[in-house]
């Protein structure tokens, strides 16, 4: 590849990161970031509360009838307790910066592998769905832990290996906790790439060069960083204002993100039991019961051909009624589409492809698959639609 072409490619990756990658990936990876920041805030808040509690206890005791000497000892003990152990006020940006720095390094290393081993690392829709549901369950457990619902939820903690914590503790004593957790979680984001990131990964594979693959991933993730940092930083400052309520707030955010992740995983599997599919089914049943037309349902033409439009906000139509047992030729049209809807998946026939920003892609759905409900979705399960074969 020429120098100019390489430069253009890197520029494209960076601009894609700045314009769409940040927001798109934030929807998927914000859970890990929120967990990371929450854990940091949790450490600070609980340490402060615990110290206040102990100080209050000591003061209570010191109000009892004591001799002069006993009172002097209590005061001395109080002073040594309250001052040196008070946690230092840390910069709220530190864990976020560490998280994003680790993410940048991890994706750059991933880029080296992608450039080297090609498409071997690509996951099937079902594997990714399972991963996403697993992440969602972890987030729900984390939320329950933050709410302190039951001791069993203490198991929903990603703990760095003991030898690593010991090493970090001994060589970077004072800031071990600020370093290890966000770094570890930032690295984990390589396992939950969003649709746009996957497109960049495919681009990195296509270069066939470890160096260029790494450069593309580096440029893209660097581009997403300002959006991530801005949103996460605002969220953290808000948490400081809310102070003691922050743990509950963080728990609520993680809870919602966990539900979103599970919802995406279920959609990606083509499950009818995702929240959006259950809602769709309910609205169709309601409309049918009241005698109205449920929603605009498209139908294939006489040749079995049908076209759907791909927008940044979803697919249109998202309901297609077709005769069962007959093959369908589905044309997917994107026109300046840059969102994660470009990652198009039909789970039950094992179809997945990153659509062009502008262009048409035709998919043949065989007669054997034309029965019941056949769902199509974006690669993260955020947007979906379905065929109803009757």
């Amino acid at each position: 590849m020429s120098f100019d072409a390489s430069t253009n490619l890197l520029g494209l990756a960076f601009v894609t990161g700045v314009t769409t990658g940040g927001l798109s990936c934030l929807a998927v990876q914000a859970g890990l970031l929120a967990t990371s920041v929450a854990r940091q805030a949790e450490t600070d808040v609980t340490a402060q509360l615990a110290i206040r509690h102990v100080v209050a206890q000591r003061k209570k005791r010191s109000n009892r009838r004591l001799t002069k000497e006993q009172r002097r000892r209590e005061r001395a003990a109080l002073a040594t307790l309250a001052q040196p152990e008070k946690p230092k006020r840390r910069n709220a940006a530190t864990p976020i910066a560490l998280f994003l720095g680790a993410k940048l390094v991890a994706y750059t290393v991933l880029g080296i592998f992608l450039g080297w081993i090609g498409s071997v690392l690509q996951l099937s829709p079902y594997s990714r769905a399972a991963l996403q549901i697993g992440i969602g369950i972890f987030m729900l457990g984390t939320a329950a832990r933050l709410f302190n619902l039951h001791p069993i939820f203490r198991y929903f903690v990603i703990e760095p290996p003991r030898f690593l914590t010991r090493f970090i503790r001994r060589y970077a004593k004072n800031n071990a906790t600020t370093v290890a957790t966000p770094l570890f979680l930032g690295t984990l984001t390589i396992f939950i790439p969003c649709g746009v990131t996957q497109a960049m990964m495919v681009l990195a594979v296509g270069t066939g060069s470890p160096l260029l693959g790494a450069a593309i991933m580096f440029a893209f993730i660097l581009g997403t960083t300002p959006v991530f940092f801005g949103l996460a930083y605002v969220a953290t400052r808000l948490g400081e204002v809310l102070h003691t309520r922050f743990l509950q707030l963080a728990g609520a955010v993680v809870l919602i993100l966990g539900l979103v992740s599970i919802e995406g995983g279920l959609n990606l599997m083509g499950s009818p039991y995702s929240f959006s599919n259950l809602l769709n089914a309910a609205s169709v049943s309601l409309a049918e019961a009241s005698g109205g037309s449920p929603e605009v349902a498209a139908q294939p033409d006489a040749n079995g051909a049908i076209t759907i439009q791909v927008y940044n906000t979803g697919y249109f139509p998202d309901l297609i009624k077709a005769p069962s047992g007959k093959p369908v030729s589905l044309t997917v049209v994107s026109n300046g589409t840059t969102g994660c809807t470009r990652g198009f998946v039909i789970p039950s026939i094992g179809y997945q492809r990153t659509l062009p920003e502008t262009g048409q892609t035709t998919i043949n759905i065989p007669a054997s698959a034309a029965n019941g409900n056949l769902r199509y979705t974006c690669s993260m399960g955020m947007y979906s639609g379905y065929f109803e074969f009757t």
Partner: protein, 70 residues
Amino acid sequence: MAKQVFSVKGMHCSACVMTLEGLEDELAGIRSLKVSLHKERAEIDYDDKKISEDEIRRAFEGKGYGLARA
């Protein structure tokens, strides 16, 4: 020498574990200190001639955690 298992109150995350295990380096007389977040326990191996149980408890309190015999 004494080896004792204690219950620890006030831990919320792995950062708490790291903070408490750091006492192993800070307190003279502690041979080993293993903390389990999941069990809310600390297994402490210490030289009772150099440090007392009460001093260890106060060190835990100083970090913002409660310590009692399990």
